[in-house]
């Protein structure tokens, strides 16, 4: 992705998107997009717009997610349980393997994944989350070569949200609902299976030029703007970010931490579904014959005992209270010190997929002594 791209706005229909999918597949991309599986919208390989969850919308609140049929839009659902983190920073990543050959230990690094992938239907908050993980994995002193390889091969088709659910708060986090950067093509669904499309990169402009499109009419541009405004207007949940880092770091003994610890299952679902949470641990796998061993990285969570276990000393954070406090303080406060941005993009996944519906916005508001949530 480079250059400012073509700012022209064109109209494309579902056939045009089918052509795009076909062109991308032909160019060697694995095309991943939203599909309906087990009662949720998740990301899987798609072959055409027939695979998309057309006519399905989601309903979300704390600890609750349901799909239902309504309308005929392709992208009226919002975000589901799996973020694109699953693709770019997968749950398990082999790092290296060692063998003993002729009495010598030979170590071989795991090869990087060079498969190019096209992501269809990436929302603004998810683009923001990818940008956060870019900072974590690429922009520090050490780069994650596996993330870098997958990231380099991406073609991103963003979708501007025309609908928000109760758990969304991207407006508060200034990340959406409109995709501003970080995509190759952005689509806004208007009506009757039509989309206003914009290129966000040279690559995106080149692909768009290969598709059957026509210039957008002023009324279509108005409809696209109105759709995004509708989503923004539907957002009932807010997170007041002003002064939040100071508030959290200066209140380690606030009674609210005890209160949330009573409710929190320390199940780690919030960290697993969060598109920015990046922590991993490394597991050793030994061959039974004693000759070889491998190290495998996998998603970890600050909600577990193992996470802060020190040899001989037990866990540093052994209470649920200290773990929730760590998670929320890192997301909303110390992330700024570490990476120069918030660790939260306002996607609301941690709220919906927390089995007991603990709400980061409500907890933050309670710390302020205000009424919060949505």
């Amino acid at each position: 992705m480079s250059g400012s791209g073509d700012p022209a706005r064109v109209v494309i229909d579902a056939n045009g998107i089918d052509t795009l999918i076909a062109i991308l597949a032909k160019r060697g991309y694995e095309v991943l997009g939203p599909v309906r599986r087990d009662g949720a919208i998740v990301h899987e390989p798609i072959a055409s717009t027939d695979d998309l969850p057309r006519g399905w919308i989601d309903e979300q609140r704390g600890g609750h997610y349901r799909l239902k049929q309504e309308g005929d839009a392709y992208f009226a659902y919002t975000v589901g349980p799996s973020s694109w983190k699953r693709v770019l920073h997968p749950p398990r990543q082999p790092l290296w393997r060692s063998e003993i050959r002729d009495g010598e230990v030979a170590i071989e690094a795991a090869s990087v994944d060079t498969q190019r992938r096209a992501l269809i239907g990436v929302r603004a908050c998810e683009l923001a989350a990818i940008a956060v993980q870019d900072r974590v994995f690429l922009e520090g002193p050490y780069q994650d070569r596996h993330y870098a390889a997958r990231r380099a091969g991406l073609f991103i088709v963003a979708v501007n949200c025309g609908r928000a659910v109760e758990t969304c708060f991207c407006v508060s986090m200034d990340t959406g609902p409109e995709a501003r950067a970080g995509f190759d093509i952005a689509l806004t669904e208007i009506a009757n299976g039509r989309f206003v499309a914009t290129a966000g990169s040279d690559d995106g402009a080149a692909r768009l030029a290969e598709l059957p499109t026509r210039p957008a009419e002023p009324s279509e541009l108005d409809a696209a703007a109105a759709a995004i405004e509708t989503a923004a207007g539907q957002m009932t949940r807010t997170l007041e970010t002003e002064g939040l880092p100071d508030l959290l770091t200066s209140n380690p003994d606030h009674p609210r931490w005890d209160d949330v610890a009573q409710r929190c299952l320390n199940c780690a679902n919030c960290t697993m579904v969060c598109p920015t949470c990046f922590c991993t641990d490394v597991e050793e796998v030994n061959d039974l014959d004693g000759g070889g061993a491998a190290r495998v990285q996998q998603w970890a969570s600050c909600f577990t005992t193992d996470f802060t276990y020190l040899h001989g000393g037990g866990a540093v954070r052994d209470s649920v209270r200290s773990r929730y406090r760590q998670w929320m303080t890192h997301k909303l406060a110390t992330w700024h010190d570490q990476f120069g941005t918030s660790g939260c993009v306002g996607c609301g996944r941690c709220i919906a997929w927390c089995p007991v519906g603990i709400d980061i916005t409500e907890e933050a508001a309670a710390m302020r002594g205000a009424r919060g949530g949505g």
Binding site: M272, Q298, D306
Partner: protein, 256 residues
Amino acid sequence: MGAKPRLGVFKFSSCDGCQLSLLDCEDELLAIVGAIDIAYFPEATRADDTGHYDIALVEGSVTTLHEAKIIHSIRERSTRLITIGACATSGGIQALKNGADVAEFISAVYAHPDYIATLDSATPIKDHVPVDYELRGCPIAKHQLIELIAATLAGRWPRTPPHATCMECKRAGHVCVMVAQGTPCLGPVTHAGCGALCPGYARGCYGCFGPKENANTAALAARLAEDGATGRDIRRLFSTYNANAPAFRQEAQRHG
């Protein structure tokens, strides 16, 4: 390690399912046999129980006087005693009889109650002798058994993380049955190990691996009640394969 470590596999009150996990290691079985000397394993070999074991795998709970005695002999003759499965680590499903009218149970189940000699309770091995390591599950997970053997051979601590099943569920990419369907699931309070098998088939977790670290069963029970579960439902949910594990037993007791 020099000579091959000597392994014994012992059965107490149990269904044999955990021992069979060892035979189930089809692909790895040859490597296991190459690395360890399976000295005593009535399910697979004819050898008698004699001598010292480097590793004793113990399946089943103590439910008879005889079992309460022989576990001491096995402990004395073993360097590492490792319990395998829910019965050995928490008492198993047979521990449902703990605190109940055992004589009545026996007369309801057996045609000739007079042939039955049993203790009033089914107890985990650790209530009787010190245990070096526990493998959870009903039955245990094959990959954890292999990890246990491989780690022991490599001279490191095995890795069987005590966190929630939810982490395995999310890593596997399953859709949460509780959030997306309202199905009761014990995953948030259950020790990982099975790879979130049941949620992978759109079923709630039954808690086969017993309580996880810091299991907040009260918060989960409150959520289940909000979703319409009755006290009886919640009691039953916590009273299965690990009914006698303290965290599950106490939660069950709070609901009747």
